[in-house]
Amino acid sequence: MIHGGQQVTYRQLAARTESLAQQLCHLTGKRVGVRTSSPTTFIPAILALNLVAADVFLLGSRTPAEINRLTREFSLECILDFSSYNGTQFSESVLAPILTPEPQSIHSELSADKGVTILTSGTTGLPKAARHTWANLCKPVRTTPLYRHTRWLCLFPLHLYAGLQVFLQAFLNWATLVIPSCMTPHEIASTISHQGIQYASGTPSFWRQILYFSGSQGLEPTSLLQITLGGEVASQALLDQLRRVFPHTRIVHIYACTEMGRLFAVTDGKEGFPLRYLDDPPEAGVQLKIVDDQLLVTSRTPMTTYIQQEEDQPSTPAYFHTGDLVKVAGNRILFRGRINEIVNVGGSKVSPLEVESVIRNVPGVAEVRVYPKPSSLTGHILAADIIPSPQYSQEQIRLAIQQMSQIHLQPFQVPRVINFVDQIRMSSAFKISRAGPDS
Protein backbone atom coordinates (compact mmCIF):
# COMPACT_ATOMS: atom_id res chain seq x y z
CA MET A 1 0.00 0.00 0.00
CA ILE A 2 1.25 3.43 -0.90
CA HIS A 3 -0.25 6.50 0.71
CA GLY A 4 1.56 9.80 0.32
CA GLY A 5 5.10 9.18 1.46
CA GLN A 6 4.29 5.96 3.27
CA GLN A 7 4.77 2.47 1.88
CA VAL A 8 3.57 -0.66 3.65
CA THR A 9 4.57 -4.05 2.30
CA TYR A 10 2.40 -7.14 2.73
CA ARG A 11 4.93 -8.42 5.27
CA GLN A 12 4.68 -5.19 7.27
CA LEU A 13 0.92 -5.26 7.01
CA ALA A 14 0.85 -8.77 8.44
CA ALA A 15 3.11 -7.72 11.31
CA ARG A 16 0.98 -4.66 12.12
CA THR A 17 -2.15 -6.74 11.99
CA GLU A 18 -0.75 -9.37 14.36
CA SER A 19 0.46 -6.73 16.79
CA LEU A 20 -2.89 -4.93 16.79
CA ALA A 21 -4.79 -8.19 17.17
CA GLN A 22 -2.87 -8.89 20.37
CA GLN A 23 -3.81 -5.46 21.72
CA LEU A 24 -7.44 -5.87 20.69
CA CYS A 25 -8.14 -9.47 21.69
CA HIS A 26 -10.39 -8.35 24.56
CA LEU A 27 -12.85 -7.04 21.94
CA THR A 28 -13.98 -10.48 20.78
CA GLY A 29 -17.72 -10.45 20.34
CA LYS A 30 -17.97 -6.75 21.10
CA ARG A 31 -19.63 -4.23 18.86
CA VAL A 32 -16.78 -1.89 17.92
CA GLY A 33 -16.96 1.42 16.06
CA VAL A 34 -13.80 2.16 14.10
CA ARG A 35 -12.88 5.73 13.28
CA THR A 36 -9.98 6.11 10.89
CA SER A 37 -8.53 8.70 8.65
CA SER A 38 -5.44 7.01 7.25
CA PRO A 39 -5.61 3.99 4.93
CA THR A 40 -2.37 2.60 6.35
CA THR A 41 -4.01 2.25 9.76
CA PHE A 42 -7.47 1.40 8.51
CA ILE A 43 -6.44 -1.82 6.78
CA PRO A 44 -4.47 -3.45 9.62
CA ALA A 45 -7.16 -2.32 12.09
CA ILE A 46 -9.93 -4.00 10.13
CA LEU A 47 -7.87 -7.13 9.57
CA ALA A 48 -6.93 -7.30 13.26
CA LEU A 49 -10.53 -6.88 14.38
CA ASN A 50 -11.50 -9.62 11.94
CA LEU A 51 -8.90 -11.91 13.52
CA VAL A 52 -10.29 -11.32 17.01
CA ALA A 53 -13.89 -11.64 15.77
CA ALA A 54 -15.15 -8.24 16.86
CA ASP A 55 -18.38 -6.87 15.40
CA VAL A 56 -17.00 -3.97 13.36
CA PHE A 57 -18.84 -0.77 12.45
CA LEU A 58 -17.04 1.42 9.94
CA LEU A 59 -17.43 5.01 11.07
CA GLY A 60 -15.03 6.60 8.61
CA SER A 61 -13.93 10.05 9.68
CA ARG A 62 -17.20 11.22 11.17
CA THR A 63 -17.16 13.97 13.77
CA PRO A 64 -17.22 13.17 17.50
CA ALA A 65 -20.77 14.57 17.73
CA GLU A 66 -21.93 12.21 15.01
CA ILE A 67 -20.10 9.26 16.57
CA ASN A 68 -21.83 9.88 19.91
CA ARG A 69 -25.16 9.71 18.14
CA LEU A 70 -24.26 6.54 16.27
CA THR A 71 -22.95 4.97 19.47
CA ARG A 72 -26.37 5.40 21.05
CA GLU A 73 -28.35 4.36 17.99
CA PHE A 74 -26.35 1.21 17.28
CA SER A 75 -25.40 0.30 20.83
CA LEU A 76 -21.70 0.42 20.12
CA GLU A 77 -19.69 -0.86 23.06
CA CYS A 78 -16.35 0.55 22.19
CA ILE A 79 -14.95 3.18 19.85
CA LEU A 80 -11.48 2.76 18.43
CA ASP A 81 -10.05 5.98 17.10
CA PHE A 82 -6.94 5.60 14.98
CA SER A 83 -6.86 9.18 13.76
CA SER A 84 -3.65 9.90 15.60
CA TYR A 85 -2.21 6.41 15.45
CA ASN A 86 1.59 6.48 15.38
CA GLY A 87 2.24 2.73 15.38
CA THR A 88 1.60 2.14 19.04
CA GLN A 89 -0.96 4.52 20.49
CA PHE A 90 -4.60 4.63 19.55
CA SER A 91 -7.55 5.76 21.54
CA GLU A 92 -10.03 3.28 22.85
CA SER A 93 -13.17 4.39 24.58
CA VAL A 94 -14.96 1.56 26.26
CA LEU A 95 -18.54 2.45 26.87
CA ALA A 96 -21.07 1.05 29.26
CA PRO A 97 -23.46 -0.95 27.13
CA ILE A 98 -26.76 0.83 26.60
CA LEU A 99 -28.46 -2.50 26.19
CA THR A 100 -26.78 -5.61 27.41
CA PRO A 101 -26.51 -7.80 24.35
CA GLU A 102 -26.48 -11.54 24.83
CA PRO A 103 -22.78 -12.38 24.50
CA GLN A 104 -23.57 -15.85 23.19
CA SER A 105 -25.82 -14.59 20.42
CA ILE A 106 -23.28 -12.09 19.15
CA HIS A 107 -20.62 -14.76 19.26
CA SER A 108 -22.57 -17.28 17.28
CA GLU A 109 -23.54 -14.67 14.70
CA LEU A 110 -19.92 -13.74 14.19
CA SER A 111 -18.39 -17.18 14.16
CA ALA A 112 -20.75 -18.07 11.32
CA ASP A 113 -19.88 -15.16 9.07
CA LYS A 114 -17.24 -12.62 9.89
CA GLY A 115 -17.76 -9.28 8.27
CA VAL A 116 -18.10 -5.54 8.70
CA THR A 117 -20.97 -3.09 8.97
CA ILE A 118 -20.97 -0.27 6.46
CA LEU A 119 -22.87 2.92 7.23
CA THR A 120 -24.71 4.49 4.34
CA SER A 121 -27.02 7.48 4.06
CA GLY A 122 -30.56 6.95 5.21
CA THR A 123 -33.60 9.09 4.41
CA THR A 124 -34.09 10.40 7.92
CA GLY A 125 -30.58 11.42 8.86
CA LEU A 126 -29.67 8.21 10.59
CA PRO A 127 -27.33 6.10 8.46
CA LYS A 128 -28.42 2.66 7.46
CA ALA A 129 -26.15 -0.01 8.90
CA ALA A 130 -25.58 -2.64 6.22
CA ARG A 131 -23.67 -5.68 7.43
CA HIS A 132 -21.69 -7.63 4.87
CA THR A 133 -19.79 -10.85 5.36
CA TRP A 134 -16.22 -10.96 4.08
CA ALA A 135 -17.32 -13.92 1.96
CA ASN A 136 -19.83 -11.76 0.14
CA LEU A 137 -17.50 -8.79 -0.10
CA CYS A 138 -14.90 -11.01 -1.77
CA LYS A 139 -17.28 -12.66 -4.26
CA PRO A 140 -17.13 -9.95 -6.97
CA VAL A 141 -13.33 -9.80 -6.80
CA ARG A 142 -11.59 -11.22 -9.82
CA THR A 143 -8.44 -13.10 -8.91
CA THR A 144 -5.93 -13.86 -11.60
CA PRO A 145 -2.14 -14.14 -11.71
CA LEU A 146 -2.25 -11.28 -14.23
CA TYR A 147 -3.09 -8.86 -11.41
CA ARG A 148 -0.19 -9.82 -9.19
CA HIS A 149 2.09 -6.82 -8.56
CA THR A 150 -0.14 -4.50 -10.57
CA ARG A 151 -0.84 -1.00 -9.27
CA TRP A 152 -4.36 0.02 -8.28
CA LEU A 153 -5.50 3.53 -7.42
CA CYS A 154 -8.44 3.86 -5.05
CA LEU A 155 -10.28 7.18 -4.86
CA PHE A 156 -13.15 5.87 -2.77
CA PRO A 157 -13.19 6.04 1.01
CA LEU A 158 -12.12 2.66 2.32
CA HIS A 159 -14.93 2.49 4.86
CA LEU A 160 -17.58 2.42 2.15
CA TYR A 161 -18.54 -0.45 -0.14
CA ALA A 162 -16.72 0.76 -3.25
CA GLY A 163 -13.50 1.39 -1.32
CA LEU A 164 -13.63 -2.05 0.28
CA GLN A 165 -14.09 -3.59 -3.17
CA VAL A 166 -11.03 -1.87 -4.61
CA PHE A 167 -9.00 -2.76 -1.50
CA LEU A 168 -10.02 -6.44 -1.78
CA GLN A 169 -9.37 -6.46 -5.51
CA ALA A 170 -5.76 -5.44 -4.83
CA PHE A 171 -5.34 -7.39 -1.59
CA LEU A 172 -6.53 -10.77 -2.87
CA ASN A 173 -4.24 -10.47 -5.87
CA TRP A 174 -1.05 -9.40 -4.05
CA ALA A 175 -1.25 -6.14 -5.95
CA THR A 176 -0.19 -2.67 -4.80
CA LEU A 177 -2.91 -0.34 -3.56
CA VAL A 178 -2.21 3.36 -3.94
CA ILE A 179 -4.19 6.10 -2.25
CA PRO A 180 -3.31 9.73 -3.01
CA SER A 181 -2.09 11.78 -0.04
CA CYS A 182 -4.82 14.31 -0.74
CA MET A 183 -7.76 14.23 -3.08
CA THR A 184 -7.05 17.30 -5.16
CA PRO A 185 -7.19 16.84 -8.94
CA HIS A 186 -3.54 17.82 -9.31
CA GLU A 187 -2.40 15.32 -6.68
CA ILE A 188 -4.53 12.54 -8.14
CA ALA A 189 -3.23 13.12 -11.66
CA SER A 190 0.31 13.35 -10.34
CA THR A 191 -0.11 10.08 -8.40
CA ILE A 192 -1.42 8.28 -11.48
CA SER A 193 1.60 9.45 -13.41
CA HIS A 194 4.38 9.04 -10.82
CA GLN A 195 3.16 5.76 -9.38
CA GLY A 196 2.56 4.19 -12.78
CA ILE A 197 -1.05 3.36 -11.94
CA GLN A 198 -2.58 0.66 -14.13
CA TYR A 199 -6.08 0.36 -12.64
CA ALA A 200 -7.84 3.43 -11.29
CA SER A 201 -11.27 3.55 -9.68
CA GLY A 202 -13.25 6.62 -8.74
CA THR A 203 -16.51 8.46 -9.09
CA PRO A 204 -17.46 10.31 -12.30
CA SER A 205 -17.05 13.54 -10.32
CA PHE A 206 -13.44 12.69 -9.54
CA TRP A 207 -12.74 11.80 -13.16
CA ARG A 208 -14.24 15.12 -14.31
CA GLN A 209 -12.03 16.95 -11.85
CA ILE A 210 -8.99 15.09 -13.12
CA LEU A 211 -9.87 15.95 -16.72
CA TYR A 212 -10.57 19.65 -16.11
CA PHE A 213 -8.69 20.75 -13.03
CA SER A 214 -5.43 18.84 -12.82
CA GLY A 215 -3.63 21.91 -14.07
CA SER A 216 -0.16 21.49 -15.39
CA GLN A 217 -0.01 17.76 -14.67
CA GLY A 218 -0.12 15.99 -17.99
CA LEU A 219 -2.35 12.97 -18.37
CA GLU A 220 -0.87 11.46 -21.51
CA PRO A 221 1.07 9.26 -22.06
CA THR A 222 -0.48 7.13 -19.37
CA SER A 223 0.20 3.84 -17.63
CA LEU A 224 -3.53 3.30 -17.18
CA LEU A 225 -4.88 0.02 -18.52
CA GLN A 226 -8.34 0.50 -17.06
CA ILE A 227 -10.46 3.31 -15.62
CA THR A 228 -13.42 2.28 -13.48
CA LEU A 229 -16.25 4.63 -12.60
CA GLY A 230 -18.82 4.03 -9.88
CA GLY A 231 -20.99 5.58 -7.22
CA GLU A 232 -22.70 8.02 -9.58
CA VAL A 233 -24.29 7.96 -12.98
CA ALA A 234 -21.59 8.07 -15.67
CA SER A 235 -22.80 10.36 -18.44
CA GLN A 236 -22.15 9.73 -22.12
CA ALA A 237 -20.32 13.06 -22.29
CA LEU A 238 -17.87 11.95 -19.63
CA LEU A 239 -17.36 8.49 -21.13
CA ASP A 240 -16.61 10.12 -24.49
CA GLN A 241 -14.19 12.60 -22.93
CA LEU A 242 -12.32 9.81 -21.13
CA ARG A 243 -12.15 7.79 -24.33
CA ARG A 244 -10.61 10.78 -26.17
CA VAL A 245 -8.07 11.58 -23.47
CA PHE A 246 -7.17 7.93 -22.78
CA PRO A 247 -7.61 6.18 -26.14
CA HIS A 248 -5.76 3.01 -25.11
CA THR A 249 -7.41 2.58 -21.71
CA ARG A 250 -10.38 0.32 -21.05
CA ILE A 251 -13.26 2.30 -19.54
CA VAL A 252 -15.72 0.51 -17.28
CA HIS A 253 -18.60 1.81 -15.23
CA ILE A 254 -20.06 -0.19 -12.39
CA TYR A 255 -23.48 -0.22 -10.82
CA ALA A 256 -23.55 -1.26 -7.20
CA CYS A 257 -25.44 -0.43 -4.06
CA THR A 258 -24.33 -0.84 -0.48
CA GLU A 259 -27.26 -3.07 0.33
CA MET A 260 -26.86 -5.55 -2.54
CA GLY A 261 -23.22 -5.15 -3.47
CA ARG A 262 -21.78 -4.98 -6.95
CA LEU A 263 -24.42 -5.67 -9.56
CA PHE A 264 -22.89 -5.26 -12.99
CA ALA A 265 -20.20 -3.61 -15.04
CA VAL A 266 -20.68 -1.88 -18.40
CA THR A 267 -17.75 -1.99 -20.78
CA ASP A 268 -19.22 -0.84 -24.09
CA GLY A 269 -18.46 2.84 -23.57
CA LYS A 270 -22.12 3.83 -23.48
CA GLU A 271 -24.06 5.31 -20.60
CA GLY A 272 -26.75 3.32 -18.82
CA PHE A 273 -26.82 -0.40 -19.51
CA PRO A 274 -28.14 -2.78 -22.17
CA LEU A 275 -31.86 -3.60 -22.14
CA ARG A 276 -30.97 -7.27 -22.47
CA TYR A 277 -29.62 -7.27 -18.89
CA LEU A 278 -33.26 -7.54 -17.81
CA ASP A 279 -33.55 -10.99 -19.36
CA ASP A 280 -29.95 -12.04 -19.53
CA PRO A 281 -28.37 -11.53 -16.11
CA PRO A 282 -25.13 -9.60 -16.45
CA GLU A 283 -23.50 -11.44 -13.57
CA ALA A 284 -24.20 -14.67 -11.73
CA GLY A 285 -27.06 -14.31 -9.28
CA VAL A 286 -27.97 -10.79 -10.39
CA GLN A 287 -31.54 -10.22 -11.47
CA LEU A 288 -32.91 -6.86 -12.58
CA LYS A 289 -36.43 -5.67 -13.12
CA ILE A 290 -38.23 -2.38 -13.52
CA VAL A 291 -41.37 -1.65 -11.52
CA ASP A 292 -43.03 1.76 -11.79
CA ASP A 293 -39.86 3.16 -13.38
CA GLN A 294 -37.76 2.04 -10.43
CA LEU A 295 -34.92 -0.47 -10.76
CA LEU A 296 -35.25 -3.50 -8.50
CA VAL A 297 -32.36 -5.91 -8.03
CA THR A 298 -31.27 -9.13 -6.40
CA SER A 299 -27.75 -10.43 -6.10
CA ARG A 300 -25.83 -13.21 -4.45
CA THR A 301 -23.88 -10.67 -2.38
CA PRO A 302 -26.59 -8.96 -0.37
CA MET A 303 -25.99 -7.41 3.00
CA THR A 304 -26.77 -9.75 5.85
CA THR A 305 -29.03 -7.32 7.60
CA TYR A 306 -29.85 -3.71 8.34
CA ILE A 307 -29.11 -3.29 11.98
CA GLN A 308 -31.76 -1.77 14.20
CA GLN A 309 -33.91 -0.44 11.40
CA GLU A 310 -37.63 -0.82 11.11
CA GLU A 311 -37.41 -1.41 7.39
CA ASP A 312 -37.91 -4.87 6.03
CA GLN A 313 -34.88 -7.11 6.20
CA PRO A 314 -34.16 -8.17 2.64
CA SER A 315 -34.19 -11.90 2.21
CA THR A 316 -32.97 -13.89 -0.76
CA PRO A 317 -34.26 -13.74 -3.43
CA ALA A 318 -36.49 -10.77 -2.60
CA TYR A 319 -35.94 -7.81 -4.85
CA PHE A 320 -34.34 -4.73 -3.36
CA HIS A 321 -35.80 -1.35 -4.27
CA THR A 322 -32.73 0.61 -5.35
CA GLY A 323 -34.54 3.95 -5.35
CA ASP A 324 -33.01 4.61 -8.79
CA LEU A 325 -35.43 5.66 -11.49
CA VAL A 326 -34.72 4.40 -15.00
CA LYS A 327 -36.15 4.79 -18.47
CA VAL A 328 -35.94 2.59 -21.52
CA ALA A 329 -34.47 4.29 -24.59
CA GLY A 330 -34.33 1.86 -27.48
CA ASN A 331 -32.17 -1.08 -26.45
CA ARG A 332 -30.67 0.86 -23.59
CA ILE A 333 -31.75 1.59 -20.03
CA LEU A 334 -30.79 5.00 -18.70
CA PHE A 335 -30.75 6.37 -15.16
CA ARG A 336 -32.88 9.40 -14.51
CA GLY A 337 -32.74 10.28 -10.82
CA ARG A 338 -33.93 9.02 -7.47
CA ILE A 339 -37.37 8.13 -6.24
CA ASN A 340 -36.95 9.64 -2.81
CA GLU A 341 -35.33 12.88 -1.89
CA ILE A 342 -31.82 11.49 -1.51
CA VAL A 343 -29.47 13.06 -4.05
CA ASN A 344 -25.98 12.18 -5.14
CA VAL A 345 -23.38 14.89 -4.61
CA GLY A 346 -20.06 13.90 -6.16
CA GLY A 347 -20.66 10.23 -5.39
CA SER A 348 -21.94 10.73 -1.86
CA LYS A 349 -25.61 10.34 -1.02
CA VAL A 350 -27.18 13.21 0.85
CA SER A 351 -30.55 13.83 2.37
CA PRO A 352 -31.50 17.50 1.90
CA LEU A 353 -34.02 16.96 4.72
CA GLU A 354 -31.24 16.13 7.16
CA VAL A 355 -29.18 19.12 6.08
CA GLU A 356 -32.22 21.34 6.44
CA SER A 357 -32.74 20.26 10.03
CA VAL A 358 -29.14 21.21 10.83
CA ILE A 359 -29.33 24.60 9.11
CA ARG A 360 -32.67 25.33 10.79
CA ASN A 361 -30.84 25.31 14.13
CA VAL A 362 -28.42 28.01 13.04
CA PRO A 363 -28.95 31.29 14.92
CA GLY A 364 -30.46 33.84 12.55
CA VAL A 365 -32.16 31.29 10.33
CA ALA A 366 -35.92 31.80 10.62
CA GLU A 367 -36.74 29.26 7.93
CA VAL A 368 -34.74 27.30 5.37
CA ARG A 369 -35.24 25.11 2.34
CA VAL A 370 -32.37 22.91 1.19
CA TYR A 371 -32.65 21.53 -2.31
CA PRO A 372 -30.45 20.00 -4.99
CA LYS A 373 -29.29 21.90 -8.05
CA PRO A 374 -28.04 19.83 -10.97
CA SER A 375 -24.33 20.17 -11.64
CA SER A 376 -22.47 18.90 -14.67
CA LEU A 377 -19.39 18.66 -12.47
CA THR A 378 -20.65 16.84 -9.40
CA GLY A 379 -24.09 15.50 -10.29
CA HIS A 380 -25.73 17.84 -7.84
CA ILE A 381 -24.82 20.44 -5.29
CA LEU A 382 -27.00 21.57 -2.44
CA ALA A 383 -28.51 25.03 -2.32
CA ALA A 384 -30.19 26.69 0.63
CA ASP A 385 -32.87 29.38 0.53
CA ILE A 386 -32.92 31.16 3.85
CA ILE A 387 -35.41 33.51 5.42
CA PRO A 388 -33.28 35.46 7.87
CA SER A 389 -34.33 36.58 11.34
CA PRO A 390 -34.56 40.38 11.43
CA GLN A 391 -31.85 41.06 14.00
CA TYR A 392 -29.17 39.16 12.12
CA SER A 393 -27.03 40.33 9.21
CA GLN A 394 -26.37 38.08 6.25
CA GLU A 395 -22.68 37.90 7.13
CA GLN A 396 -23.49 36.74 10.65
CA ILE A 397 -25.80 34.06 9.35
CA ARG A 398 -23.30 32.87 6.75
CA LEU A 399 -20.60 32.58 9.38
CA ALA A 400 -22.95 30.73 11.71
CA ILE A 401 -23.88 28.30 8.92
CA GLN A 402 -20.18 27.69 8.30
CA GLN A 403 -19.57 26.93 11.96
CA MET A 404 -22.59 24.67 12.29
CA SER A 405 -21.63 22.84 9.09
CA GLN A 406 -18.14 22.14 10.36
CA ILE A 407 -19.49 20.41 13.44
CA HIS A 408 -22.47 18.57 12.05
CA LEU A 409 -22.07 18.11 8.32
CA GLN A 410 -19.67 16.38 5.98
CA PRO A 411 -18.37 18.52 3.09
CA PHE A 412 -20.75 17.07 0.50
CA GLN A 413 -23.68 17.87 2.81
CA VAL A 414 -22.83 21.57 3.06
CA PRO A 415 -25.01 23.83 0.88
CA ARG A 416 -22.69 25.61 -1.55
CA VAL A 417 -25.21 28.11 -2.88
CA ILE A 418 -26.85 30.22 -0.22
CA ASN A 419 -29.71 32.56 -1.12
CA PHE A 420 -31.49 34.95 1.20
CA VAL A 421 -35.15 35.11 0.29
CA ASP A 422 -38.46 36.60 1.40
CA GLN A 423 -40.47 33.47 0.78
CA ILE A 424 -39.84 29.78 0.78
CA ARG A 425 -41.37 27.69 -1.96
CA MET A 426 -44.01 25.39 -0.54
CA SER A 427 -45.63 22.42 -2.23
CA SER A 428 -49.42 22.19 -2.47
CA ALA A 429 -49.47 20.07 0.67
CA PHE A 430 -47.98 23.01 2.58
CA LYS A 431 -44.80 21.07 3.09
CA ILE A 432 -41.47 22.53 2.09
CA SER A 433 -40.85 21.49 -1.47
CA ARG A 434 -37.53 19.74 -1.73
CA ALA A 435 -37.62 19.21 -5.47
CA GLY A 436 -35.24 21.28 -7.54
CA PRO A 437 -36.44 24.51 -9.15
CA ASP A 438 -37.29 22.80 -12.42
CA SER A 439 -39.87 20.43 -10.97
Binding site: H186, F213, R244, V345, K373, T378, I381, Q402, R416
Partner: protein
Amino acid sequence: MLNKLEIEHLLNQAIKQVLEDKGFTAKITPDSPIDSTLGLDSLDWAAVAVRMEDQTGLDPFSEGFIVKLATVNDLIDLYVKTASKHPFVQ
Protein backbone atom coordinates in the same frame (compact mmCIF):
# COMPACT_ATOMS: atom_id res chain seq x y z
CA MET B 1 -24.27 37.11 -27.09
CA LEU B 2 -22.07 37.70 -24.05
CA ASN B 3 -18.61 39.10 -24.70
CA LYS B 4 -15.44 38.29 -22.79
CA LEU B 5 -15.65 41.32 -20.51
CA GLU B 6 -19.20 40.52 -19.50
CA ILE B 7 -18.27 36.92 -18.85
CA GLU B 8 -15.28 37.99 -16.78
CA HIS B 9 -17.47 40.27 -14.71
CA LEU B 10 -20.13 37.61 -14.11
CA LEU B 11 -17.54 34.98 -13.29
CA ASN B 12 -15.81 37.24 -10.78
CA GLN B 13 -19.19 37.90 -9.19
CA ALA B 14 -19.99 34.19 -9.00
CA ILE B 15 -16.62 33.38 -7.42
CA LYS B 16 -16.97 36.28 -4.99
CA GLN B 17 -20.45 35.12 -4.00
CA VAL B 18 -19.34 31.56 -3.33
CA LEU B 19 -16.39 32.87 -1.30
CA GLU B 20 -18.74 35.11 0.68
CA ASP B 21 -21.02 32.18 1.43
CA LYS B 22 -18.03 30.54 3.07
CA GLY B 23 -17.08 33.68 4.96
CA PHE B 24 -13.99 34.38 2.86
CA THR B 25 -12.89 37.26 0.70
CA ALA B 26 -10.12 37.15 -1.84
CA LYS B 27 -8.81 39.26 -4.67
CA ILE B 28 -9.62 37.54 -7.90
CA THR B 29 -7.61 38.23 -11.01
CA PRO B 30 -7.45 36.37 -14.33
CA ASP B 31 -4.23 34.79 -13.09
CA SER B 32 -5.82 33.43 -9.89
CA PRO B 33 -5.42 29.65 -9.81
CA ILE B 34 -8.39 27.32 -9.92
CA ASP B 35 -7.40 25.10 -7.09
CA SER B 36 -7.77 25.34 -3.36
CA THR B 37 -5.52 28.43 -3.14
CA LEU B 38 -8.48 30.82 -3.07
CA GLY B 39 -10.14 28.70 -0.39
CA LEU B 40 -12.52 26.94 -2.76
CA ASP B 41 -12.75 23.16 -3.05
CA SER B 42 -14.19 21.13 -5.92
CA LEU B 43 -17.76 21.46 -4.66
CA ASP B 44 -17.31 25.23 -4.41
CA TRP B 45 -16.13 25.40 -8.04
CA ALA B 46 -19.19 23.35 -8.96
CA ALA B 47 -21.24 26.01 -7.14
CA VAL B 48 -19.50 28.74 -9.18
CA ALA B 49 -20.48 26.87 -12.35
CA VAL B 50 -24.07 26.53 -11.14
CA ARG B 51 -24.26 30.29 -10.36
CA MET B 52 -22.81 31.07 -13.79
CA GLU B 53 -25.39 28.85 -15.43
CA ASP B 54 -28.16 30.65 -13.54
CA GLN B 55 -26.78 33.98 -14.76
CA THR B 56 -25.81 33.12 -18.32
CA GLY B 57 -27.61 29.95 -19.30
CA LEU B 58 -24.20 28.52 -20.21
CA ASP B 59 -22.87 25.21 -18.90
CA PRO B 60 -19.45 24.48 -20.42
CA PHE B 61 -19.13 21.26 -18.44
CA SER B 62 -21.94 19.58 -20.30
CA GLU B 63 -20.33 20.30 -23.69
CA GLY B 64 -17.73 17.56 -23.62
CA PHE B 65 -14.84 19.97 -24.26
CA ILE B 66 -11.39 18.68 -23.46
CA VAL B 67 -9.72 21.58 -21.69
CA LYS B 68 -7.20 22.16 -18.95
CA LEU B 69 -8.25 24.73 -16.40
CA ALA B 70 -5.47 26.19 -14.34
CA THR B 71 -6.45 29.84 -13.91
CA VAL B 72 -9.56 31.99 -13.83
CA ASN B 73 -8.58 33.19 -17.31
CA ASP B 74 -8.83 29.60 -18.59
CA LEU B 75 -12.34 29.46 -17.15
CA ILE B 76 -13.25 32.77 -18.81
CA ASP B 77 -12.00 31.46 -22.15
CA LEU B 78 -14.03 28.28 -21.66
CA TYR B 79 -17.21 30.32 -21.14
CA VAL B 80 -16.38 32.45 -24.18
CA LYS B 81 -15.96 29.25 -26.21
CA THR B 82 -19.28 27.94 -24.90
CA ALA B 83 -21.02 31.25 -25.59
CA SER B 84 -19.88 31.25 -29.21
CA LYS B 85 -21.37 27.78 -29.56
CA HIS B 86 -24.69 29.04 -28.18
CA PRO B 87 -25.00 32.62 -29.45
CA PHE B 88 -28.72 32.87 -28.75
CA VAL B 89 -28.56 31.79 -25.12
CA GLN B 90 -29.46 34.72 -22.85
